[in-house]
Symmetry: D3
Subunit: 319 residues, 6 copies
């Protein structure tokens, strides 16, 4: 059996099933059409060119189709590319399904939901607790399968819930160390901070920005949702304003999308925790296939930095 | 009768009524207490020091009290200051009332309301029209007396409505010249863009930021209000999103408080019109008492620039 | 007859005349030479590749040649490209001329000149009037055919004059609303502000920057021209300095090419009007072929923004 | 007995001992000299003016002298000031000592040393362990009493050690959540990151920058110390370089004093932990005396923000 | 005889003549008027307060009056201040004249003129030579007495000419080392680069910005003057454009007042030489009275840096 | 014989030896592999494509191999490219050696060493002299062959030493003009400022950054080396700190890699001299093949500027 895409190296022979993530037609300099395919399995994706494609090929090999491919991994300008020897679409006979080819969070949605629910259950302030529970419930289904972003970090199925679960753990450990923090506010802020992404993004597959995502953004969407939840639940009190402020300010400053800077302690901490989890995720992704003594690819969302793995660290596992 | 404060010059004798805008106690370097009074009439305000004040004075001369003063205008570090010869509080006998001492818009609230109502009446898109009318009506009273800001521009009673009326006129003239503009969207954007200030600011006198003004800001407040209005009126359709985007983006970019940049034509134009009217107001204020051939005081909100009045322009009227 | 280039869509058959705007030779990866042609008519331009071109082709198909082409509009990486089936140069027999293939202002030069002349005629300050008239007359011919820029906005024949005419209308409508504005200064500023471009740019076809355009720029060129005009007309007085300042400061700040920021009211307004007309022109260009509910191409000079056309707006006309 | 300075409010009577932190002579506008005293106890400090001071007073009331004062807390321009009724220097009879008047960390130096030592003891990489132990030992005495800064955060006796202990706890909790982190590198980075401050700062009292603090800074000082330690201990290996990089990059970027940005995972995390602990300390300081529903003083090192304490939070203890 | 002002220290007794540079009236907190005098001799200036001044005093002690003073140097908030014991205006009997009290360049104007003339004489390109000579001659008188700025560097009589002479020497030494430099262009650029300051500034005493200085600036003024000189001398050729570009770009970039960045080699070098001479002058001024092992006052125009004099350097001369 | 690569123009026939600097394999759009060769001689380098290369070709034509080539210079997207007619590897028979194909400084290493040694010999401060001599000696071999950078300026064999020699000359001429400069500090700063590059860069051929170059940088490396040298030579005194500060601050500010800004006079001057020599080198390189009246290629490290050669300057020599 072939290695997962993430683990492939130049020269590896490939004979396996992949999901086509996208297929783009273009014209080669010899005037003939070809397809650029992004192929994926649950570990990653790789580009392949289908040279001299026929009109039939164009309608056969499209996004979300599972194909069986024979080929070899090669290098193209420093990036891996799959050289296709043969390719065919699959049928029911192949007994493969799309879900098997999609990257998702390492914990199951139901486990994550249970964990988050426990945090809500433990809240002491009833206003905060009710609003948080109400909004989570309202968007529960989309929340559990949404990615946290279209790229950069947690850009996989259930990435949003996974990001929230990790942040809750960091929040809990910080609250243990800094007792002045109001855990109700902080946990609620963590749970709701990116919940607007269920309306900002189009869903877990081929994730794109929706129209209201582009024109309002998840921050403004959620500030409004909190107001509506409070009205629906007939809750009044400063807690509502605090929760709205937590959401509004969690990007830290104007240039980063927050029209107000954090002015309560928990808002500042929420911003820092969001940062930590996003950066850890990006660095881990960049370094996971890097050998000791080598540098990773550049991480665009971290100032184009390339990260180094010390030579006295362990090499990555090869499976 | 004494000249209005705006028209006073060093050496002018003063014998008239003023409203105390604020009174602050401090200790002089000789160890004695004194009061710093900000005195105002409907044309402007001036500072005065009440040296060696008694405990009685402290309770008598407080904010919102009208006083009768005898004194002389002098210069203190390049700013005018009133040297008090005598000061006394007023009684019913003086037949003076606070309203006469407060700066307000040059058009009456009812006239402004009528003019704005006409713009709404002329709208063709019923969704935009209904939401605009609903929100204006909901906040009508506060809207008609609110200043547009705590300082910088239109910082007087009814300043917000006056700012809107001026902007509507500019919007109309631009729409005549650039026929691609959707006047319904543009006029609605103008009317609603700062309406959130009725909740962001504390009111027309001694204007300060409210708690939700500081933690959310008028932009987020109004985005939520539009959503609530649409729900209440059972309006659906892209118009709601467009109006929310107009409000959200009208500061132009993140650093200036808009979490999204304008991406519809009317949003960009709204931002430019807002700028024009605010800047014209600030420049006119700065230059109105300046003699031809001289420079104005520095205008903080316009990069600390000092503006010049060409020597071939008319001198200001002296009344 | 074929549609104008601006109105073409993928799949359209083309059989018509085009002007070659530029022809660039390159070597394909199969080692054979090919030409990249930019073809234009009066509505826009489109790229085409002439594969495997002969030495004859290279000398035949050059800039400013009109050709007759048979082909089909296709898509290349998200941009339209014309696939050439046949191409031939034209002769006198074809009865076509270059002027018919060039984009120009929607008003005739003589009408624009008349309109601008009226503004000058109405000026009351004789110094401002004489200098403005003198400089316009001096550069009249080049002014009437110059584009306003090499790209971004008003980058077509007579674009400069058209930009000025539009700005004059905006200036007039603002002056009606803000009576403190000195219309003589403002109109003169509008007429002269970009007049230096007749020396900064190489002319209406294949527009490029001249040497003095690159080393001095149109702002410094015009500041000097005003000084020379005043000397020639024996005019003295502060008006000259004011006009020079209007030109000097009309880009608003140092980073944008103005060594001094505006410090007279009309200079600030001139800067804002310039902005409005340029941005309206860019947004209209970007949106004119966009369907309701879709986004435009990115507009480089407006922070790479892509603009949205609301779905309740009208679709573009198809001719 | 009088309340601690931190807990005083306007109107409180004071009759107690204070330490003079600094005494500055100046001339009042009546031509007479006076002293501005900064008085402190272990909870905070307060300004007082000694009007009309004699030459004797000037030599008596100087820095580090303990005085007995009778006075009243008043308000001067929004800040508390102590109005002195009587003041006298103390003698041995008063049985007071400087140490009682100085703010210091809430944990004893020996407890902190023990805790840090345990972290070093648990390290598995002998190179990292030996260098860390060596450098801590070398500077142990100064390290345990040094503040972490001259102002902003942890600016008290033993503040540096306290900052390190808090950061170690955060580091440990993050390492539990993100298992890819190398705890040896991370803990060593935490322990050494600010150790150069024992040479950058002048010591715990009247803390100022030393010459090498100003010309090199604690970052470069410690990078060199690590090289020297490695040489002395005859340690070779990439660990040395990694430790130097951790120190070098812990301010995050060039503008903030780090000539290299973090390029190993632990360096990025070290920077984030440093931030968290410094900001928590500053916010806690700002908010500790603030009543629910009110805003704190502005925190200079956090973009001049003023922080809000929600009205549903507990009021501060009053002792 | 008393020491020069620059050499005074706290405690020095003073009994000598000074020139009043400026006299400003203000009101003390006891309600009495006082004068703030800036006193100067040819080495520097010092502030003094004249408490309780009479109306006579106000008319007697004004700018440009020479006074005889008896007093003592004291410290006021870290700056030296002169405490006046007695003060009287001078008469013809005192035999003192204003010129003796004014700081000026260390070389005589005629020597500087001779040196600059030699550089012009040595030029080989007649166009450059004639324009340079023409403009220098035109403004010779003002050029020889003008300061180079109102503050920061070379802010003394003949400072402009002295700045030019120093820069010519640096230019010559660099041209020796980098033979690709065109010395005619470079020397002419040095001589003309700040010549516009004779119109930008009001003259050597009480230097202020003129109206055209504020609205155009010395750069634009000189670009125009070069064009006029060329016309007058009937010179055509690219040299004119090059000289204009040298002037235009010598501040280096837009934010610093140059609408075009340098694009010829000599322009870049001119900018660097201007920088070197200005910074050397500022550092020398800051350090001249500093003792070895101490820091200077902060230099505002060099990012508020305070400069250090190494302890192994010589102490300043004391005269 | 063929012209040097730097002097080639489109259409030139080539029949000569070149050194392969790098060879990169890629796949053409027809699916066949090809090699991109960077060929060099001692004057410059040029790209060439070897289409349809065999597996043998791939192992034959690799970095550091000298080849004999027959071909023609052509244009590819505005850059020169060599079209290969024939290519063969060389053997001992060809009697060519790598050293002949490498660009290096115009002065021999031994002459440069002698010159630098003289500067050290003339130093008067023994501490500065001994440390400078010690460090130069320690790294002498690498110093004399190292480039000054991987690109931008002095990126050739012995470029570092050449950069130092040029800077010493500039330093000497400035010290003559500004006598307050301490030449010992300044010359030592020049000699040592980039010496850390012998550890930051991998050497003269195929220059890349080393691991410690990436994680520490030459500035921190040299600060540590100075400390170690002082310890080894048992030198104490402020000179060490001053030398460290000179190195640390020579990039001028944080964004440019200096954790401390210059605070001694010689440090500021060192920074300026470094700038001058680097910029002169870059401008000379950019302009050396440019014809009068034309613009150079853009210089990336100088804000992407393109430099102009005045039309009255000499054309470049053609050999």
């Amino acid at each position: 059996m072939s290695k997962g895409i993430k683990f492939q190296q130049v020269g590896d022979r490939v004979e396996t099933y992949y999901l086509i993530k996208s297929a783009t037609k273009a014209i080669a300099s010899n005037g003939k059409p070809f397809l650029t395919l992004i192929l994926s399995d649950h570990t990653g994706d790789i580009e392949a060119k289908l040279w001299g494609c026929s009109p039939d090929d164009e309608t056969t090999f499209t996004s979300q189709v599972i194909v069986f491919i024979n080929g070899e991994v090669s290098d193209y300008r420093g990036r891996l590319q799959l050289k296709i020897s043969s390719i065919r679409p699959t049928t029911a006979m192949d007994q493969v399904k799309v879900a098997d080819f999609i990257r998702s969070a390492p914990i199951s949605p139901s486990d994550m939901l249970e964990e988050i629910t426990q945090y809500i259950f433990d809240m002491k302030n009833p206003n905060i607790q009710r609003i948080t529970r109400h909004l989570l419930k309202k968007h529960q289904e989309a929340f559990l399968e949404s990615p946290a972003a279209t790229k950069n970090h947690h850009e996989f199925v259930s990435g949003l819930a996974y990001h929230v679960v990790c942040m809750l753990k960091v929040a809990k450990s910080l609250a243990n160390l800094y007792p002045t923090l109001d855990t109700d506010l902080l946990y609620s802020g963590v749970i709701l901070h990116d919940l607007g992404k269920v309306r900002e993004l189009s869903g877990p597959i081929d994730t794109a920005y929706t129209l209201e995502g582009k024109l309002l953004g998840h921050i403004s969407i959620m500030v409004t949702e909190i107001a509506e939840a409070a009205k629906e639940l007939a809750i009044e009190g400063e807690e509502i304003l605090m929760l709205q402020h937590l959401i509004l300010s969690h990007h830290g400053k104007g240039e980063w999308g927050s029209p107000k800077v954090p002015v309560i302690r928990e808002a500042e901490v929420l911003h820092m925790i969001d940062n930590i989890d996003a950066k850890m995720n990006m660095m881990d992704r960049a370094l996971e296939r890097v050998q000791p003594g080598e540098f990773s690819e550049r991480v665009m969302a971290m100032d184009h930095r390339s990260f180094y793995k010390p030579s006295f660290h362990e090499p990555p596992l090869d499976y």
